[in-house]
């Protein structure tokens, strides 16, 4: 779904901005961090809601289809682009982003509050711009496609891993993202 892709993209852009603002001269700006976290929350809510509705629709399809599919397979999930948002500063983005933005113009103006607030994962109590004191991703964990180097600094940077410029197969985006909100097993 385009909304899903748009929400994910905005989320990734926000994360990279938050990350870049740490190294800004003058220190972290509270106002800017707050605004970024509000956008991230909206994008995350939309992302979760749209994934739920996809799951529900895929479950319905599972019921009616002759060959049952695994719960993890998401036929409605679009193939991720090879040009995922990089963690470079956002100034390099405008050109491609403009086009995407024009296409999904109406989706951007979807009211986030219309979406269901139910989330599958455990919602993080802490705002995203604070360091999340959760267990780290293990480097050798095969379940996630994030490279070991991204796991060194903890969950906050695992969010950055999500936005790095690499192809992550669909199920792993979901599980990698979800693991940030669940205790590590």
């Amino acid at each position: 779904m385009e909304v899903n892709a748009e929400a994910r993209r905005i989320l990734a852009v926000s994360i990279s901005k938050l990350y870049a603002s740490r190294t800004q001269r003058g220190g972290l700006r509270l106002h800017r961090s707050l605004l970024l976290s509000l956008v991230m929350r909206s994008a995350r809510d939309i992302y979760h809601s749209s994934r739920e509705s996809e799951c529900q629709s895929s479950e319905e399809r599972m019921d009616t289809s002759s060959d049952p599919e695994e719960g993890q397979q998401q036929p409605g999930m679009p193939e991720p682009q090879t040009t995922l948002i990089s963690s470079e500063p956002a100034q390099e983005e405008p050109d491609s982003a403009d086009e995407e933005c024009e296409i999904t113009e109406d989706k951007e103006n979807l009211s986030p509050t219309r979406q269901s607030r139910k989330r599958r994962g455990k919602a993080s109590a802490a705002p995203d711009f604070l360091p999340i004191k959760r267990a780290r991703l293990e480097p050798g964990e095969e379940r996630y496609a994030a490279p070991p180097s991204c796991c060194r600094s903890g969950a906050g940077d695992s969010l950055i891993a999500l936005s790095l410029n690499r192809v992550i197969p669909p199920p792993n985006i979901h599980t990698a993202y979800e693991c940030l909100h669940k205790p590590h097993r």
Binding site: H31, L38, A97, T104, P127, L130
Partner: protein, 448 residues
């Protein structure tokens, strides 16, 4: 009529001067960060990212050319703030001047407050145009005379000298703000002033620099519950007990210092309900107020958010009395503006001398004026191409529909790196100062 906004059909603006480097390469230290006229309009101060303050003085009108108002020339330049380092937090403190506010003049000297993110300074700007000459023990160059040659006594006399303007720091107000200072405002009592950061507003006495009163504190007990920050604050122009502060949620709170020592409970809350049709990912960002200014009369309040300017009547809290769209065509571009950071730009706004016209900046070096009485608005451009003295500025138009008329510029052609964040209006005359990235433009009303 001096100070009259008039209908925009009456007032024509023409180029007067431009200050600053012509180079396309902009040195970061030269980026102008604040512009402010003093109370008479004779002095115009600018602050920049390099921590410097430059003050321009208007030349007296010459009797030979009564049609031309005096030019503004450099009067004084000084380094107000230096970069500092907070060792405890391992944070660099930028020297960028966030705000300058003039004190009303009380004697021969001029005083202004300048602030960076953490420290406010009171500067005295004074003139020296005489110096003593004829010392008994010293030569004119300062060397001591040989005692044996001194056999008369004389009284040194003041002789005229070339005008020298000295700026000296009289007070340094520091260590009172944990977060970044966004506003300072001098009270009408001329004794106190306020400074505001993201979560707190402090009240200072101009004479006392080692302590301040905290009058607003919106820091939640648990920072994880933070939902809004203070974005601007200002004292009422006449009532010394009243001030307002705006928030990132688009609300303005008016507080009365007589009610309590800590003004966390507002006296009035100005808030407009959000239009549900305009809801988007970025609704919160664009509703954040970037500037708040009382009218000179004190009856109205003006606020600037990302897309509009709103005028509030202090007697009505439910909605603004006037709303002006600055660049509504950007509403469909919010996603790109978020990605290139432009959506975080903090535009300021200002009133003209008699509160009939308001002005604010936009992109592509455009700035907008809204005439409240005649319900007219105009878009003008600050550019060296219109840089012939007394050349009249032609109104500009951004084409929003499919067809672009001649002389219109399309939204996609706008240069978002050329932004006008800071503007100032002379308190008495139709003279305006408009800051582009690193240049200061002065425009004035065309006089016939």
């Amino acid at each position: 009529m001096a100070g009259a906004g008039g209908g925009n059909s009456d007032v024509q603006w023409c180029f007067s001067q431009v200050k600053g480097a012509i180079d396309d390469e902009v040195a970061e230290a030269d980026i102008i960060s604040t512009v402010e006229f003093n109370h008479s309009g004779e002095l115009l101060a600018t602050g920049d990212k390099g921590g410097r303050v430059v003050i321009f003085q208007q030349e007296p009108e010459s009797k030979n050319q009564p049609q031309c108002r005096g030019e503004y020339n450099v009067y004084s330049t000084f380094q107000s703030h230096e970069p500092e380092f907070d060792y405890l937090k391992s944070l660099e403190i930028e020297e960028k001047i966030n705000k300058i506010r003039w004190l009303p003049q009380q004697n021969a000297a001029q005083f202004l407050l300048s602030t960076n993110d953490k420290t406010i300074k009171l500067w005295k700007i004074s003139e020296r145009d005489k110096r003593p000459e004829g010392y008994n023990l010293k030569e004119e160059d300062g060397r001591y005379r040989d005692f044996h040659t001194v056999n008369t006594l004389r009284v040194p006399v003041f002789m005229p000298m070339d005008l020298m303007v000295e700026a000296s720091p009289r007070r340094v107000f520091s260590n009172a703000h944990t977060y970044h200072i966004n506003s300072i405002s001098v009270n009408s009592d001329c004794e106190t002033y306020l400074s505001a950061d993201d979560l707190r507003v402090n009240l200072w006495n101009l004479e006392i620099n080692d302590r301040s009163f905290n009058i607003v504190d919106i820091k939640p007990a648990n920072m994880e519950e933070l939902t809004e920050v203070i974005t601007a604050a200002e004292f009422h122009p006449n009532q010394c007990n009243t001030f307002v502060y705006s928030s990132s949620k688009g609300t303005i709170r008016l507080c009365d210092m007589r009610a309590a020592a800590l003004c966390d409970q507002h006296s009035k809350l100005f808030e407009e309900p959000e239009d549900p049709n305009n809801r988007s990912f970025f609704s919160e960002i664009i509703s954040s107020i970037s500037d708040v200014k009382f009218s000179h009369s004190g009856r109205y309040l003006m606020t600037r958010d990302y897309l509009s300017v709103k005028i509030w009547d202090l007697n009505m809290e439910t909605r603004p009395v006037e709303t002006y769209q600055v660049h509504e065509y950007l509403r469909s571009k919010l996603c790109s503006l978020y990605e290139n950071d432009c959506i975080f730009d903090k535009f300021e706004c200002c009133w003209n001398g008699n509160d009939s016209v308001v002005m604010t900046g936009s992109y592509n070096n455009f700035f907008r004026m809204f005439d409240r009485g005649y319900r007219q608005d105009v878009t003008l451009e600050a550019s060296r191409e219109n840089g012939k003295p007394r050349s009249v500025l032609k109104p500009r138009k951004v084409s929003t529909g499919g067809k672009r008329k001649k002389d219109e510029i399309s939204v996609d052609s706008l240069d978002f790196n050329k932004k006008i964040l800071h503007t100032a209006w002379h308190p008495l005359d139709n003279i305006i100062a408009v800051a582009t990235t690193n240049n200061l433009y002065i425009f004035e009303e065309k006089l016939n």
